[in-house]
């Protein structure tokens, strides 16, 4: 089967039109109106990515009276010390501005009598966000950027050691699109579907994170030689049983408190045992898992007395964010106050928006390969950025890219449809031509099973052991070898094939990071049975790069990188 190649030239290419990508496209057009900006998404920007269902809160917001330093300290504490102070500080300084900028684009933010946004938790506010994604899409359409829908990133386009565009699979056409660009902002979100979820059959994609964010950005960055960080800080959230809907709204807005099967509030018991006055998010997860292992699960959230309008407020908040949960409540019933909601855990997911997994960047969100920038969940080092932090990073990356283009640092890309492009087109066409033996859905199931059983999934309470990880590594390498046989009968199957390729490479990198960190830094997220305690020499980052011979090379970086920005190299991880 022949694969046709479309070519498009632009100055600045934004890959992924979610929270971060939309912000980047708008900012680039505002700060540099002469720039030709192209945004490419695998889906349609009016309902793509994590924001497809809507959101009910801005989870990172500095309320009146909270200082930037306090905010940074709270993120550091919850990350058990491993975060990039410079990145988190820049977010703390700009999240409110970004939120109100999006408010000016049409996002409704309810306010109290004195005009202050209504709090959700201590550092978050409520929004009416069902239509957040259509609102961002409207702004993008108005900004003058070219929007290309239905094209999925398959690889970055590297010429002379710099990123000069990207390759996409046409989701409708099944063909290759080559975009030549001076600079590329990666904003494809994180990775879901690396691990098996407890839901099966028709419900298998009912998970918390967007299952269509498949780690494409991580995999493409690795293949382009860029450096990644903190993939071992996996995100395992407590979520409502069956639907994996977020619990934060119940816990923060509606006073929900965790109780075990016996009706005990168990957090204090663990806080005393672990010698702390307040559990961090990973510690709360660990406490919940320990209760379940001890036979005192499942755990429920008992809601506070929410008053007359209480139940309607709960329903509204979930309809705006995960409507499937309301369908489940419609079946089970939900009392106005004092109700209990059974919770469980979901994931692990890999993302830089809640935990710190992603591309290693400098303050301008420049990755370690010239011409490449990153924003949002695909970017690492700055946990708890959430949607407002994704906007801030989109704005920052767009300003850096525009400045670098203006400074002439990013020259015109190389010739169109050269030998490398032809090679990509052939690779895309080949499996179909061979008839292919491996169904991408089967390959995905195999991946999820291997990760679940050997790399700390749901069925093993997320616990890790060096020997299990070695088995995971071997199984993933074998699976990657089989991927040459993937079939792509039609464009949709070619998309699934590209997704599983990206997931497998991302999973290999995750396993390499998990093997490297020989301590338990984040209980629950990263419990090493063979190294159960935190160790001072691991108060550092674990970073990785993909080597030309196809290995994942891991190494350490200090918590405070030199102000000159990320250099390559770094101290090796001990063998």
């Amino acid at each position: 089967m022949k694969t046709h190649v479309d070519v498009l030239d632009t100055d600045l290419l934004v890959v992924g039109g979610g929270a971060a990508g939309c912000a980047a496209a708008v900012e680039a057009r505002e700060v540099a109106p002469h720039l030709d900006v192209t945004l490419v998404d695998k889906a349609h920007v009016s309902r793509s990515g994590c924001l497809a269902m809507g959101l009910n809160a801005i989870n990172a917001y500095l309320p009146e009276g909270v200082a930037v330093d306090d905010y940074v300290a709270s993120v550091r504490r919850d990350a058990h010390g491993v975060m990039r102070e410079d990145l988190v500080r820049s977010l703390a300084e700009q999240i409110n501005g970004a939120t109100h900028r999006v408010e000016s684009w049409g996002l409704p933010i309810p306010r109290d009598g004195r005009g202050r946004p209504l709090p959700k938790g201590p550092r978050s506010i409520q929004i009416f966000g069902e239509s957040l994604k259509p609102i961002l899409a409207r702004r993008v359409r108005g900004c003058g950027a070219r929007v290309v829908h239905r094209h999925a990133l398959v690889d970055l386009r590297v010429r002379d050691g710099a990123v000069r565009g990207a390759y996409f699979l046409g989701v409708r056409t099944g063909e290759l699109l080559e975009v030549r660009a001076r600079a590329v902002i990666l904003a494809t979100g994180g990775a879901a579907g690396l691990y098996r979820t407890p839901n099966r059959g028709d419900a298998r994609n009912r998970m918390w994170y967007c299952p269509f964010n498949t780690g494409a950005g991580y995999a493409a960055a690795l293949r382009a030689g860029a450096e990644l960080t903190t993939l071992e800080m996996r995100f395992v959230p407590t979520r409502i049983l069956h639907t994996a809907a977020p619990t934060g709204t119940l816990a923060q807005t509606f006073g929900g408190r965790e109780e075990n099967l016996l009706g005990e509030r168990f957090h204090d018991r663990y806080a005393r045992a672990w010698n702390t006055d307040r559990l961090t998010t990973p510690q709360r997860l660990r406490a919940l898992l320990e209760e379940c292992k001890a036979g005192r699960g499942p755990v429920v959230l008992r809601l506070g007395q929410t008053g007359a309008g209480g139940r309607d407020d709960v329903l509204g908040a979930y309809l705006d964010m995960t409507p499937a949960q309301v369908a489940l409540w419609a079946a089970e019933g939900l009392d106005a106050g004092g109700a209990t909601v059974t919770i469980s855990t979901s994931g692990p997911y890999i993302l830089g928006g809640h935990t710190g997994s992603g591309l290693w960047v400098d303050g301008g969100r420049r990755a370690t390969v010239p011409g490449l920038y990153a924003a949002g969940d695909v970017t690492g080092g700055a946990p708890k950025k959430y949607v407002s932090g994704a906007w801030v990073e989109g704005f920052i990356a767009a300003r850096s890219a525009a400045a670098d283009i203006a400074a002439g640092a990013l020259p015109l890309p190389g010739p169109r449809v050269d030998a490398q492009t032809e090679e990509r087109a052939r690779a895309l066409g080949q499996p179909a031509a061979r008839g292919g033996a491996l169904d991408p859905t089967d390959a995905t199931e195999r991946l999820q099973r291997v990760m679940d059983e050997w790399a700390g999934g749901h069925s093993t309470f997320y616990e890790l052991h060096g020997r299990r990880l070695a088995k995971a590594r071997a199984e993933l390498e074998a699976l990657e070898g089989d991927l040459a046989e993937l079939c792509g009968r039609d464009p949709h199957q070619r998309l699934l094939a590209a997704e599983v390729r990206d997931r497998v490479l991302t999973a290999r990198a995750v396993v390499a990071h998990l093997e490297a960190r020989e301590e338990t830094r984040w209980p629950g997220y990263q419990t090493r049975l063979d190294h159960p305690e935190p160790r001072d020499e691991w108060r550092c980052f674990v970073n990785s790069r993909y080597t030309p011979d196809g290995r994942i090379h891991t190494f350490r970086r200090p918590l405070r990188p030199s102000p000159a920005g990320p250099a390559t190299g770094g101290a090796p991880c001990p063998p």
Partner: protein, 126 residues
């Protein structure tokens, strides 16, 4: 769990090559069956239950459906309206009472060409 397209109500949006339900699905899960003039989910297991398709269908032909294993035959959640006036959902509780909830909403019709214009360059096929 997924969204279910009611083939009695769906008319395939007439001659539309890409009906709204197909256009908005974030995972390329909905596909139009041109032979039958209806849309369907390629594979229910790929659906995220985001209900973006439910919200854009002009004939309200797509329903929220929980699997029997989770909700027995209960779990009725129905979209009544999605427009710039708001999004209105109807919930039926186990005791039979029906409740409507309205929230603010914005509708975006984004009519951009779905394919990159071949005017830029068309390779001859490789």
């Amino acid at each position: 769990m997924p969204a279910v397209i009611d083939w009695k109500a769906c008319d395939g949006c007439g001659a539309s090559p890409e009906p709204p339900c197909v256009r908005v699905c974030p995972g390329d899960v909905v596909v139009k069956d041109f032979a039958r003039g209806r849309s369907r989910l390629r594979e229910p297991g790929e659906c995220w239950d985001c209900y973006a398709c439910v919200k854009v269908c002009p004939r309200n032909a797509i329903q929220v459906a929980l699997p029997y294993a989770l909700a027995r035959r209960n779990g009725y959640l129905h979209l009544v309206e999605h427009s710039d006036r708001g999004v209105v959902w109807e919930i039926r509780w186990p005791d039979g009472t029906v409740q409507r909830v309205r929230r603010p909403a914005h509708v975006e019709t984004f009519e951009e060409p779905e394919r990159v214009a071949p005017d830029v360059y068309s390779g001859d096929g490789i």
